[in-house]
């Protein structure tokens, strides 16, 4: 246990510690530079692009996953859907798929001559955009791919939540004449509030730190328009060898995530 704790504590402390050091460009090791890395970050426009993209990315992924996931979970929870068990198993496959493989599939789908554009051409959209090399669209393509990966977990968690709801309350509401929408907004949502909150928090943390998709689909391009902080930090550490600077970006991510993390821990402890 102690070993485990050490292995998980040490890199973390060391990472934060590193963020106060700068790497000499022409060798010569690192030197203490206080908050200089953070000051540099504040005037680094690429950092701000990454930060902005990270917020768009996280909000879009988590939001759409929750909305679409809820619709699909409600659908699969209908008692008269045939093959529900099979669907529930199959729908999880994207989640088990290697993320790099998923990124490559979507890179192919969004390709210039890929299936998506062929389809758009076929239904009458002449000149569909070249998704992966157009600023704006490239981040969108990555978001779609990430939603595809993240959706299954959301659906299955929501399904489990829906199935644990007390049925007598619903029968009572139905007798009282509450319609489908009313039952959803006044019963289902309030009853599942804490589950949804935990789900969204966890999902936000995972999505915020996601690396594989953007690295494999666009590598931040074109022209850094789909840059995310995880990728920018990676590039700094392992392409430009600015580990202190990279650590500083990591520390900022951690500070941003601190809020959801504390919330998650508090909720889990309350539940336990």
């Amino acid at each position: 246990m102690i070993v485990v704790a050490l292995i998980s504590v040490y890199p973390f402390v060391n990472g934060i510690y590193n963020s106060f050091f700068s790497d000499a460009v022409f060798g010569g090791g690192k030197y203490f530079s206080g908050l200089e890395n953070f000051r540099d970050l504040m005037s680094d426009s690429l950092f701000w692009t990454g930060l902005k993209n990270n917020f768009i990315w996280s909000a879009a992924c988590v939001g759409f996953e929750l909305a679409i996931g809820m619709l699909i979970a409600l659908l699969l929870n209908l008692p008269y859907i045939k093959l529900r068990g099979l669907y529930r198993a199959l729908i999880l496959l994207p989640w088990a798929t290697t993320p790099v493989v998923a990124a490559l599939i979507w890179r192919y789908i969004f390709g210039v001559m890929g299936p998506l554009n062929s389809f758009l051409n076929a239904v009458g959209f002449a000149n569909p955009p070249n998704w992966l090399v157009t600023p704006g669209y490239s981040l969108f393509a990555c978001i779609v791919a990430n939603i595809w990966i993240g959706l299954p977990f959301v659906i299955v968690t929501l399904l489990a939540g829906l199935q644990s709801l007390p049925s007598d309350v619903y029968e009572a509401a139905e007798i009282d004449g509450a319609g489908v929408l009313k039952r959803f907004f006044h019963l289902t949502l309030p009853l599942m509030k804490s589950l949804i909150l935990i789900l969204v928090t966890l999902n936000t943390i995972w999505t915020f730190n996601m690396f594989d998709i953007v690295y494999s689909m666009t590598n931040g391009g074109p022209g850094n328009s789909s840059m995310l902080l995880s990728l920018y930090s990676y590039q700094n550490a392992f392409a430009y060898f600015q580990q202190g600077y990279a650590s500083a970006i990591g520390v900022i991510c951690l500070l941003i995530l601190l809020l959801p993390v504390t919330f998650y821990i508090r909720e889990v402890r309350n539940e336990a």
Partner: protein, 275 residues
């Protein structure tokens, strides 16, 4: 109140279409792996007319693919084994014993899930370097095992909590040591949890990309996700045929394992959130 027949039929069709849509990228991957690259480029929407297996023979002749496949297997299987042994013991300890610092420890285990990977890797990099574990499968195994431990011991703790203490107390009165009681009575009862933990560890270490990318610096030591990302290159025409075959072989083991053990895994993954 029974829903109308038309509603039932519509909803069933909608559900079928939704599932099909979600699976379509994977189906496309399967189809493409049996087509020639030219054909993939020219007719992206068409179904293949004949079964072309050249992609598979090509990818299997690639020595670095074979080596990297073996690397992935070794790293993953060792990680799964270590993870099961360690987290069974740790989960049991957390469930049965009171010890100082237990609560902070559990908290830390949960919190460590959220750390940005980049902060971890920069710290770990120098550590791995010092013990020459960088560019070494053992380094990757150690990392993956430590990643799985927090969540998996937490999950198994939950399983052990539900097994009544009286069972092992009875066994101990009958002359078992605590370890025997655990091995013969408790562990067999926690098999669903252990299967879930094993699957989770397998998925994590087989699919992991970021740390493998950073730590493995030589072709011969890559794992499959790194192999694929190198294979696709950074520009120019991509050889989708062979790539699809390689990607499918990469994605298949976790998918198959997942289908086999999904009953246990889903229960394990969602129980924490639902309870």
């Amino acid at each position: 109140m029974r829903p109308k027949r038309s509603v039932v039929i519509t909803m069933n069709i909608v559900a079928f279409v939704v599932v099909l849509l979600i699976l379509s990228p994977l189906l496309m991957l399967v189809l493409n792996s049996f087509r020639e690259t030219m054909d993939i480029y020219q007719n992206p929407l068409k179904l293949p007319e004949k079964l072309y297996t050249g992609n598979y023979s090509k990818i299997f002749q690639d020595t670095s693919f074979r080596r990297n496949f073996a690397n992935s297997m070794t790293v993953t299987l060792v990680t799964v084994l270590l993870c099961i042994v360690i987290t069974t013991l740790a989960g049991y300890a957390m469930s049965r014993f009171k010890f100082k610092g237990k609560n902070p420890l559990i908290l830390w285990l949960l919190a460590s899930q959220a750390f940005p990977g980049i902060l971890m890797i920069i710290g770990l990099f120098s550590l791995l370097n010092r013990y020459s574990l960088q560019n070494n499968p053992i380094g990757l195994i150690i990392l993956y095992t430590t990643f799985t431990i927090p969540f998996c011991s937490w999950l198994l703790k939950g399983y052990f909590d539900e097994i009544p203490q009286a069972l092992e107390e009875a066994a101990m009165i009958d002359g078992c040591t605590r370890f025997q009681a655990m091995r013969k009575i408790i562990v067999p009862m926690a098999v669903p949890g252990i299967v879930a933990v094993g699957t989770f560890a397998f998925l994590l270490s087989w699919n992991e990309f970021f740390f493998a990318l950073v730590i493995m610096r030589e072709n011969a030591n890559y794992t499959l996700p790194v192999f694929l990302s190198r294979f696709v290159g950074t520009g120019g025409a991509v050889e989708w045929g062979a790539l699809s075959a390689g990607a499918l072989i990469t994605a298949l083991p976790p998918i198959l394992l997942f289908l086999l053990s999904q009953k246990y895994l889903i229960g394990g993954l969602t129980r924490g959130a639902v309870k």
